[in-house]
């Protein structure tokens, strides 16, 4: 079966976010008031073939742990949906 996977890679809480703070400063300079706590992450979308939901989720989790995130500073939020 084919699954759509979406992985959001976020910086762990407490880890400074240089991209977020640069964007936050810029929004204020550009006249967008009241924007705070900007945090920037990655969204990685792909399709994956697996026999069943469980296997799909197992593979994506492993992929995140080994490769898609750097666990020293990042964590992943995973969404998987069967497409066919």
């Amino acid at each position: 079966m084919v699954y759509d996977a979406c992985v959001e890679v976020k910086l762990r809480e407490g880890i400074a976010d240089p991209q977020g703070s640069t964007i936050e400063k810029a929004t204020a300079n550009l006249g967008f008031a009241g924007i705070t706590n900007v945090r920037v992450g990655k969204s990685i979308r792909f399709q994956i073939e697996a026999d069943n939901d469980e296997e799909a989720s197992k593979i994506v989790n492993e992929l995140c742990d080994r490769f898609l995130t750097n666990p020293v500073i990042e964590e992943a939020v995973i969404e998987i949906q069967v497409v066919g």
Binding site: T22, I23, A26, T27, N29, L30
Partner: protein, 736 residues
């Protein structure tokens, strides 16, 4: 009613008739699409070619002149240098980051196509004023794109220019120059030969990006918002990692002697590469569209042939070498597929499979050689006499000359610090000086020749707006002098002619005048033009940009034992001006600041200029000066201020009676700083070279003082100099 197909592809009715004449029948859609991209202004130079013929291209050291992917010169010790400059103006206005990034990628491919390893790039840039929000957004994105791609692909950026002016408001200029180095024997040309040889496509997959980019983007101006939006899907995305692997893989293929010819894919994509290699080799090619690795499904043959997907090369390989080619490609993780076969026929046949259906067939050479050539109408502006008579010296003198000076100070370091300028351990002088200097090491053995390469790019739209011919002469003269300031003798020139709409006779007059000026000065300096690029239709909402010819000149330094003096002076140095007295203010940055854009320019005295350059080189090589800087944009005032800023030491100058001599940009002048003890030697030498000179003052203290004119702390100058770009661009930029 919808436009007939040929018109919507940008071909005129006459051009269609010519195609019918060549084919002796109506072209089909695929054939028409190929003619449309190949006969576009960008690929065919149809408006400019007859003018470019006037440029001198011969020189003892020239191995390859204009017409190939890059010009090549012999620099001795078995080393050849490839040089090329290109524009990526229109794409950069639409998607600044990717437009500029793919500009860098394209020019780098032109260099390694010749067999040379790219060792440096330079980026002369022009944007609308910093006060304009969209121009800031464009500038920020372009610099990031050049930085992002260039650093990652691993080619250092050693210089360029960054200019902000109203004339580029709707049409920035992004020119990129690349220089490469090779052992002479590795030089290859982009041609197919040997019937039965194979055309192998290397690199990225082909997608719908940039379909018809050259005809849509590079060969038409910007009109209104909606039309611009339609042009947008033509923008491509660069992949510096793919390009880096292509550089290494292709150079390895060339080192191993595995390719007969190689050609990069740029404007007009496969249509151009296939027909160009075939027609240069005097052969034909069967081109199998279905063998092209595609990124998207359902692509039409015409889309495959005209796509401008980036990071692709076409190599011509003998069947015996194919396996070895594949294995080097797989080592570098480069996709490679046989897409064509060299045939004796002379025609480019697009086939659905090697023994499948013929989808289109045209004489390969007709896509190039039969491209129309236009002698477009030329007209000098009607008000030339009035314009010439309008002297900028009549402008009211500045209320506070300090403020005018401060307005002219901008350090490019906001941009240049984002570029890797040091990779390959060659960079003796990087961005921020009159010219960049590289150590010249042998490309294969790595042995230092003890000599140096020097490079500069220059352009000046203000001078050229006043007088395109003399303005261009002054530009070339400035380049030659910039090289002299680092002790280098000029060897060859490349140029990028950025002009407005060629259908406007005044624009064509500007172009023709500029070419004459370039020819005249290159002849005078015995400087061969080894390549160039023409970018037309630089207009927005009906307004053409000021004529902006950009030149890149490469020079050689005989003995590179120490870094050249640079801009800085020492406390106690005497400051001397070499060259004639200043004359006139027309075309100066100061005059433009006051909104004055007309008048006349004084022609460069070539003989005096040559003597000044020779003198300057001697002073540098004999280490008689502490610091030096040629006088150009902003005149003597800005020149001296930049030296004070760089040294963090002030000065007291005299003999500058008024704002005219302070801001004049007249040619052939260099400001030098000399230790008091060396003054007699310096003045003797100047006498020997018959160059006039004048003692101007003393370097000392922390004030920048010109007697009877102004006095201002050096730190105030530094403040403006250092912060102007950061203040405008660091806070974030957004589309309007």
């Amino acid at each position: 009613m919808a436009d007939p197909l040929h018109r919507s592809l940008g071909l005129t009715d006459e051009e269609l008739s010519k195609i019918i004449e060549i084919l002796e029948r109506e072209p089909n859609h695929l054939e028409l699409a190929m003619y449309s991209v190949m006969w576009s202004e960008h690929c065919s130079y149809k408006s400019s070619r007859i003018h470019l013929k006037r440029l001198p291209t011969q020189g003892e050291n020239v191995l390859v002149g204009p017409g190939e992917n890059a010009g090549v010169i012999d620099v001795g010790d078995g080393i050849a240098i490839a040089l090329r400059i290109e524009s990526h103006n229109h794409p950069s206005y639409i998607e600044p980051y990717q437009g500029a990034a793919t500009g860098v990628g394209g020019i780098i491919r032109d260099i390694f196509t010749m067999g040379a390893r790219p060792i440096a790039i330079m980026d002369p840039l022009r944007f609308g004023p910093l006060e304009d929000a969209r121009s800031r957004w464009v500038a920020e994105g372009v610099v990031s794109g050049i930085s992002g791609y260039g650093n990652s692909v691993g080619v250092p950026n050693i210089g360029g220019e960054i200019v902000f002016d109203q004339t580029y408001l709707g049409n920035p200029l992004v020119n990129v120059l690349c220089v490469g180095i090779m052992p002479k024997e590795r030089l290859v040309l982009g041609q197919a030969s040997g019937v039965g040889n194979l055309a192998v496509l290397l690199g990225s997959t082909t997608g719908r990006d940039g379909i018809g980019g050259v005809s849509v983007l590079a060969s038409a101006g910007f009109g209104n918002e909606e039309e611009d939006a339609e042009k947008r899907p033509s923008v491509q995305v660069g992949d510096p990692f793919e390009e880096k692997r292509l550089i290494e893989g292709c150079l390895e293929l060339l080192n191993e002697g595995l390719v007969v010819g190689i050609q990069d894919l740029g404007g007009a994509g496969l249509a151009c590469a296939a027909s160009e290699t075939a027609s240069r080799g005097g052969v034909g090619m069967d081109f199998n569209v279905s063998a092209v690795p595609q990124r998207e499904s359902g692509m039409q043959p015409f889309e495959i042939m005209t796509s401008e997907s980036q990071e692709r090369m076409l190599a011509i390989v003998t069947p015996e070498n194919l396996e070895q080619v594949f294995s080097i490609c797989s080592k570098w993780e480069i996709r490679s597929s046989v897409v064509g076969k060299v045939t004796p026929s002379g025609s480019l046949r697009i086939v659905s499979d090697f023994d499948g259906e013929v989808l289109g067939e045209v004489p390969a050479s007709s896509l190039h050689e039969d491209a129309p050539l236009y002698q477009r109408p030329i007209r000098e502006p009607d008000d030339m006499d009035d314009a010439t008579a309008d002297e900028a010296t009549k402008l009211p003198k500045p209320e506070r000359i300090e403020d005018d000076l401060l307005d002219l100070l901008t350090s490019p370091s906001w941009a240049t610090s984002q570029y890797d300028s040091q990779l390959f351990l060659n960079t003796v002088v990087g961005p921020g000086s009159d010219a960049a200097v590289l150590r010249l090491k042998h490309p294969t053995s790595g042995v230092d020749t003890g000599r140096g390469l020097a490079l500069t790019t220059d352009g000046n739209h203000r001078w050229c707006a006043v007088n395109p011919r003399i303005g261009t002469v002054m530009t070339v003269a400035e380049s030659v002098l910039n090289l002299a300031c680092v002790g280098a003798v000029p060897q060859a020139l490349v140029n990028c002619l950025n002009f407005g709409n060629p259908e406007n006779p005044i624009v064509m007059w500007q172009l023709s005048e500029a070419v004459d000026g370039m020819a005249e000065s290159c002849n005078a300096f015995e400087l061969p033009v080894i390549g160039g690029n023409v970018s037309l239709y630089n207009e927005s909402q009906g307004t053409n940009i000021d004529p902006t010819p950009i030149v890149g000149v490469i020079g050689l330094i005989k003995e590179l034992v120490a870094a050249p003096p640079g801009l800085s002076w020492n406390d106690g140095d005497r400051i001397i001006l070499l060259g004639p007295e200043a004359s006139g203010l027309c075309g100066s940055a100061w005059a433009f600041q006051k909104g004055h854009r007309r008048g006349s320019l004084e022609m460069v005295d070539f003989e005096l200029h040559q003597r000044l350059c020779a003198l300057t080189r001697s002073l540098v090589t004999e280490r008689l000066v502490t610091g030096l800087h040629d006088i150009s944009t902003g005149g003597l005032g800005v020149c001296a201020a930049e030296m004070a800023i760089d040294s963090d030491i002030g000065c007291t100058l005299a003999r500058i009676p008024d704002h005219i001599s302070f801001f004049s940009e007249s040619s052939s002048r260099v400001l030098i700083a000399v230790n008091a003890e060396r003054i007699p030697e310096v003045e003797d030498l100047a006498d020997q070279y018959d160059v006039p000179y004048a003692r101007m003052g003393l370097a000392h203290g922390d004030m920048f003082t010109v007697k009877d004119l102004l006095s201002i702390p050096v730190s105030d100058l530094q403040q403006k100099w250092n912060n102007r770009l950061a203040d405008a661009l660091d806070g974030g930029t957004a589309q309007e």
